[in-house]
């Protein structure tokens, strides 16, 4: 995988002073740059008359650029540079990152990814919707479940059966 999960060290989020967690971004860029270069070196040298460049130079250039950017980024952070976190209609930036909610949403998403083939879209999609709604603080359990089940069924029938989109039936094969 080209992109690794970044763990933003969100320990300090105070607006005053530098945003030290940004050093994590720099470290991530260094890691990514090294990874791209190492991967490019592994490719056997390959150049022919109809392709004098071969598959190696572009990743190497990108890797070097990543390392340079990481260096410039580090300088920027030490000088107090910071990126504005994205705001939005439903976003309250005065609060700290609510890791519990984020992790619950990720868990609901992961459950869907693991179960989709075996259990089928109707079951895994229901779990995804219900789990996310719960994580985000909806406590109308019955209504949540009703919405989740009906959305899954509607999408399954309209997309998988109606439009021929690939959605697995899974456990409920033959029942739906």
């Amino acid at each position: 995988m080209s992109v690794q999960t970044r763990e933003p060290e969100a320990a300090d989020e105070k607006p005053k002073g530098g945003d030290r967690a940004q050093y994590g971004v720099c470290a991530f860029l260094v890691l990514l740059g090294v990874m791209v270069i190492v991967d490019a070196m592994r490719i056997s040298h390959f150049a022919s008359s109809n392709d004098p460049v071969g598959p190696r130079p572009v990743p190497i250039i990108l890797g070097v650029l990543l390392l340079i950017t990481a260096a410039v980024y580090t300088v920027d952070v030490t000088r107090g540079g910071r990126g504005e976190p994205e705001s939005g209609e439903d976003i309250d930036l005065t609060s700290r990152i609510d890791w519990r909610t984020v992790l619950l949403v990720i868990a609901a998403f992961a459950v869907n990814a693991v179960l989709i083939e075996w259990a089928g879209w109707v079951i895994s999609g229901t779990l995804l919707f219900w789990g996310t709604a719960f994580a985000l603080g909806s406590r109308h359990h019955f209504r949540n479940l009703a919405v989740a089940v009906s959305l899954s069924l509607i999408t399954f029938y309209s997309f998988a059966i109606g439009l021929g989109v690939n959605l697995p039936a899974g456990l409920l094969q033959g029942i739906l």
């Binding site: 995988m1 080209s2 992109v3 690794q4 999960t5 970044r6 933003p8 969100a10 967690a21 940004q22 991967d39 490019a40 490719i43 390959f46 392709d51 004098p52 460049v53 598959p55 572009v58 990743p59 990108l62 990543l66 950017t69 410039v72 980024y73 540079g81 910071r82 990126g83 504005e84 976190p85 994205e86 939005g88 209609e89 439903d90 976003i91 309250d92 930036l93 609510d98 909610t101 984020v102 949403v105 990720i106 609901a108 998403f109 992961a110 869907n112 989709i116 879209w121 999609g125 995804l128 919707f129 996310t132 985000l136 603080g137 909806s138 997309f159 439009l163 989109v165 690939n166 959605l167």
Partner: protein, 503 residues
């Protein structure tokens, strides 16, 4: 003219009842999803892609045109009624639009936005019809070095011109280029960054990247900072405008169109700059300058027109050269590719029916939006009240469905999560997402054109310079990159100049 005949054929194709129905579905779905808070036009298009699966290309693109315009229109409704807009292009609309709504003039704000979008969209489509064939005939003479140079210009423009921080723009671009590297090299068949995972050999689907970064990233980021209080939505009746509003709106609409279209059509386009320029101009020209900042209708009419006109302008480089300059255009380009269609000058020769039907459907979709949105605005406003847990659960639900349906690979869902975490991190650290998306889609093409150029020159680097077109483009890139330096030093040089001349 040839293009007029083609366009008429296109209209004939669009005006069939079944096709009109498809366009109507596109417009309604696009507006409904675009109105939802937190969903910008690019995410609307990415999330609604599954609707087009299993359709033949022409129908799919008509649906797409509807979704595109609907999503944009929905976005401006959100920014007027809720403030804090979903995407950078409607930031300016929100300034005056939300003030108007708070002052009890929501109906007029929505009306001037809707009618202005229609006027600007229609005029811009006419310009699109006139300009695109010219660009195509120019583009057909371009060689690999010229394409390479134009793509470099697009990279520099999206990462260094738009957005607050060049450094962060370039970082985002590099991340996108690396994601674009994943997979089998098209020339030599060598695997790059696949880590021996067979599913990665075909590369990471741009749709998966777009849905991951936009939808999953947004949902996770909102989960981290969810506002627990209920949002205040301003109630609205049916949009209408009085004679005075018409009088104050029509000129800003036309001026907005004049700003929007050229900026959209340039390879360094985008809607932020023209909407902002339009706002500043209207403020300067207005007879009601004291109303600006308190809800001046000109401040909604002009930027909304500029926004819509620039969206049509974006289609010129996208269709004629294959060069997307906005996130929405990048997602559309990816959708074209999933049908095996390569936008570019050859598209107009090989599939004129498809292109011109698409362009004709832009006119039709635009008209449908106007007819639908004036009476339906109160309904759309109700969508703003959707409970947030359901909204974001729904975004993740449809994101997973769409991403899974591309290849039927559970692996894509894992990728989607990883990309979502990347999108989360980018939002946390203020990295813009547009350069990443453009990098993913244009990166592999730029490499291909670059290698083709060097192949023609036998490996000599001079092959990249090519002809006068490429040289001009490189000069433009140099100017963009050196602009901050010039701005810093030029006044000093001038100042040194003046006394020398007088003394």
């Amino acid at each position: 003219m040839d293009s007029v005949a083609h366009l008429l054929d296109g209209f004939a194709a669009v005006l069939a009842p079944s096709t009109l129905l498809v366009a109507l579905i596109g417009v309604i779905a696009g507006t409904a999803v675009g109105v939802l808070p937190g969903i910008g036009p690019a995410m609307t298009v990415a999330l609604l892609l599954p609707l087009t699966y299993g359709m033949e290309p022409t129908q799919a693109f008509i649906l797409f045109a509807g979704i595109y315009y609907g999503g944009m229109y929905g976005g401006s409704t959100t920014s007027i009624l809720l403030n804090t807009p979903g995407e950078s292009a409607s930031v300016v609309t929100a300034i005056e639009g939300n003030k108007m709504a708070k002052a009890g003039r929501a109906a007029q704000a929505l009306a001037t936005a809707a009618i202005g979008s229609f006027v600007a969209g229609t005029l811009a489509n006419v310009l699109l019809v006139l300009v695109t064939p010219v660009v195509v005939s120019f583009a057909i003479s371009l060689g690999a070095p010229d394409y390479f140079a134009l793509m470099m210009l697009a990279f520099v423009a999206v990462s260094a011109v738009l957005g607050a921080s060049r450094l962060r723009g370039i970082t985002s671009l590099l991340l996108g280029l690396v994601i674009g590297l994943v997979g089998i090299d098209s020339v030599t068949g060598q695997r790059r960054l696949t880590f021996d995972i067979p599913q990665l050999a075909d590369g990471i689907d741009v749709i998966v990247v777009a849905v991951g970064i936009f939808a999953v990233g947004e949902a996770l980021w909102t989960a981290a900072h969810l506002r627990r209080s209920k949002p205040t939505v301003i109630p609205v009746g049916r949009p209408w405008m009085g004679a005075q509003d018409w009088k104050r709106s029509w000129r800003p609409w036309l001026r907005g169109t004049a700003f929007g279209f050229p900026f959209g059509a340039l390879p360094a386009g985008g809607a932020e700059l023209p909407t902002f320029l339009s706002y500043v101009t209207e403020k300067r020209l207005s007879k009601h300058r004291e109303e600006f900042g308190k809800g001046a209708i000109e401040g909604v009419a002009g930027p909304e027109a500029a926004n819509n006109a620039s969206a049509a302008g974006t289609l010129v480089p996208m269709l004629a050269i294959g060069l997307p300059t906005t996130a929405t255009a990048a997602v559309m380009l990816a959708a074209f590719e999933s049908y095996g269609i390569q936008p570019g000058p050859l598209l107009f020769e090989r599939q004129p029916t498809l292109v011109w039907t698409l362009i004709a459907s832009l006119f039709v979709g635009n008209l449908m939006l106007l007819v639908l949105n004036l009476p339906l605005a109160p309904t759309w406003a109700k969508l703003l009240q959707i409970p947030r847990p359901y909204l974001y659960a729904g975004i993740l639900f449809f994101a997973s469905m769409g991403a899974y349906a591309v290849n039927a690979q559970p692996m894509d869902l894992a990728l989607l999560l990883v990309l979502g975490l990347l999108g989360f991190g980018m939002r946390r650290f203020g990295l813009p997402v547009l350069p990443l998306i453009v990098g993913v889609i244009l990166g592999p093409r730029a490499e291909q054109q670059g290698r083709r150029s060097l192949q023609l020159s036998g490996g000599e680097l001079s092959g990249l310079i090519g002809g006068p077109v490429a040289l001009t483009v490189y000069a433009a890139i140099a100017l963009i990159l050196l602009w901050p330096l010039l701005r810093r030093f030029a006044p000093r040089l001038l100042r040194r100049d003046t006394p020398a001349r007088t003394g």
